[in-house]
């Protein structure tokens, strides 16, 4: 479905992504693990068209190249990103955020159905339709962000650290919601620090360190891999 081939990203002299290869299959949930600064966010941004990758590599989505496309075209192709920090329109209402979620042409057709689905997944959003998003709690804002991304009827949903800054209870709710999203058949590419929760959700995972993919495996394999824990807590060294 999605495949990245030799993708590199640099900010000035700093090489943030170093020839990354990665793939996501239809309907699959894939998690990218790694400590702070490993380059996970850059990877999602490169796919979403928010940062420009070096010309050497290629991003292919369902057989067509999406490298170098601007963000709004990537969305039309069927990939939606929930960025780190959520990127919602904090001054607009929940309703308006969802409305804009379906701004893409591809989303207009099944908008009603999608809205039902989203409100079904996040019943709280239905209650709070007229609330200004900026006044909501972090967990609720994250729901809005995911709901908004789903409104574009994506084939692949990308999430950048959705659990960031959320209280543990809320993180639990979040992952429950993601599991429900997963069941709808949407493929998910997830960047997370919450190793256990995300591995419980995912089919497969990649491990990143300083811009490189250093490990790859099924969720079960990664759960037992000491390298994962080392990457976060350095316990074993």
């Amino acid at each position: 479905m999605l495949s990245l081939d030799e993708i590199s990203v640099r900010y000035g002299k700093h090489l943030a992504l170093d020839r990354v290869r990665l793939s996501v299959r239809e309907g699959e949930t894939v998690v990218i693990l790694g400590a702070n600064g490993a380059g996970k966010s850059s990877l999602l941004k490169a796919v979403a068209g928010l940062v420009r990758a070096d010309p050497g590599g290629a991003v292919t989505f369902r057989g067509t190249s999406v490298s170098g496309l601007p963000a709004h075209r990537v969305l039309e192709a069927g990939m939606a990103l929930v960025p780190e920090g959520r990127g919602i329109f904090a001054d607009l209402t929940v309703e308006e955020n969802l409305l804009l979620g379906a701004y893409a042409r591809r989303a207009r057709h099944g908008e009603g159905k999608m809205r039902e689905l989203v409100l079904d997944l996040f019943p709280k959003l239905a209650e709070r339709r007229r609330q200004i998003v900026g006044t909501m709690s972090g967990g609720e804002q994250q729901m809005v962000a995911i709901g908004r991304a789903l409104m574009s009827a994506p084939d692949l949903l990308m999430l950048d650290e959705p659990s960031l800054g959320l209280a543990p209870v809320v993180v639990g709710e979040l992952f429950e919601a993601l599991a429900r999203v997963r069941r709808t058949g949407v493929a998910i590419l997830l960047v997370e620090q919450n190793v256990k929760a995300s591995l419980a959700l995912a089919d497969r995972g990649y491990l990143m360190e300083v811009g490189r993919i250093v490990g790859e495996g099924s969720a079960a394999e990664l759960r037992g891999d000491p390298a994962v824990q080392r990457a976060f807590l350095g316990l074993a060294s």
Binding site: L81, F89, D91, Y103
Partner: protein, 291 residues
């Protein structure tokens, strides 16, 4: 002069200010272009209305139907041909602000120069709808009332469009968070071009209406830019209703100062209020749409 008459006179005067300011608030709030040539768009439209009325005997109300799309198109072209390049190369909002101030300052001279060559530096005026309308005992000129009516109707229509439609919500989204707007599939550049053009159309509408009762010269654009800028900042950048309210408020304040204090201090009062608003609530009296 009773307080009621003063208030009505003030509101009618404020209608002109509001009408003129709404276009700029769109241009600055959504397209993020600080357009110093804004007033010259107004003057250009005023000259167009004058030509239509004097030379071709076209009723200025009809003229609106011609001049407003003209203003829209002209502004669209200006954005596409000139300003979009600045937007593309700007590293941050500050850089874009400086660049757009400088570029539109140049544009101001170009438009002014062209108008001077075409029409000379002379005072221009004609009269249309200069008949009295009685409102609660206050006599108001119909043409100024038209400005107020237009300001209110355009303001409310646009407000409804901006808040009730997807298209309008998208424009607001661009104003609030351009980065995120791209993530929901909005072509930010196109939205900005459209907002800029829309602002130009509004400026043209203002120009046509103003030409019905105000004397203008090819060089008078700066005055309108300044007034509009004050209203925009007072109302909150990008906030359409804010601009409407701030415009009306300014008209009322000027009239009250003129009535009860000293007509010599009206402009001083305008600037003083403006400065106080800036210091006390830099985000504008009615808040900003952007952040």
């Amino acid at each position: 002069m009773t307080l009621t008459t003063a208030l009505i006179a003030g509101l009618v005067l404020g209608g002109t200010y509001a009408l003129v300011a709404m276009g700029l608030t769109l241009q600055y709030g959504i397209a993020r272009i600080m357009n110093l040539a804004y007033g010259d768009t107004i003057i250009t439209a005023a000259f167009a209305a004058f030509i239509l009325q004097g030379g071709l005997a076209v009723n200025p109300l009809l003229g609106l139907a011609l001049v407003v799309p003209g203003g829209f198109l002209l502004s669209y072209l200006i954005y596409r041909l000139i300003l979009s390049h600045l937007v593309a190369r700007a590293s941050d909002r500050g850089a874009l602000e400086v660049d757009s101030i400088l570029t539109t300052f140049g544009l101001l001279f170009v438009i002014q120069g062209v108008l001077l060559v075409l029409f000379g530096g002379n005072y221009t005026s004609y009269s249309f709808l200069n008949v009295a309308v009685d409102i609660m005992g206050a006599k108001v000129a119909a043409n100024r009332l038209l400005a107020l009516a237009l300001a209110l109707s355009i303001g409310l229509t646009l407000y409804l469009l901006l808040t009730r439609t997807r298209w309008g919500t998208a424009l607001r989204a661009v104003a609030v968070a351009p980065q995120s707007a791209a993530l929901v599939g909005i072509d930010v550049n196109r939205a900005a071009a459209f907002a800029f053009a829309l602002g130009g159309g509004l400026a043209a509408a203002g120009g046509v209406v103003i030409s019905m009762y105000q004397t203008f010269t090819a060089t008078a654009g700066v005055v309108f830019t300044m007034k509009a800028l004050i209203v925009v900042i007072m109302g909150g950048v990008g906030n359409l209703l804010g601009a409407l309210c701030a415009g009306l408020l300014l008209g009322v304040v000027e009239t009250l100062v003129s009535t009860y204090v000293d007509p010599g201090l009206t402009l001083a009062a305008t600037y003083a209020i403006f400065l106080v608003v800036l210091l006390w609530r830099p985000q504008g009296l009615f808040g900003r749409v952007a952040r």
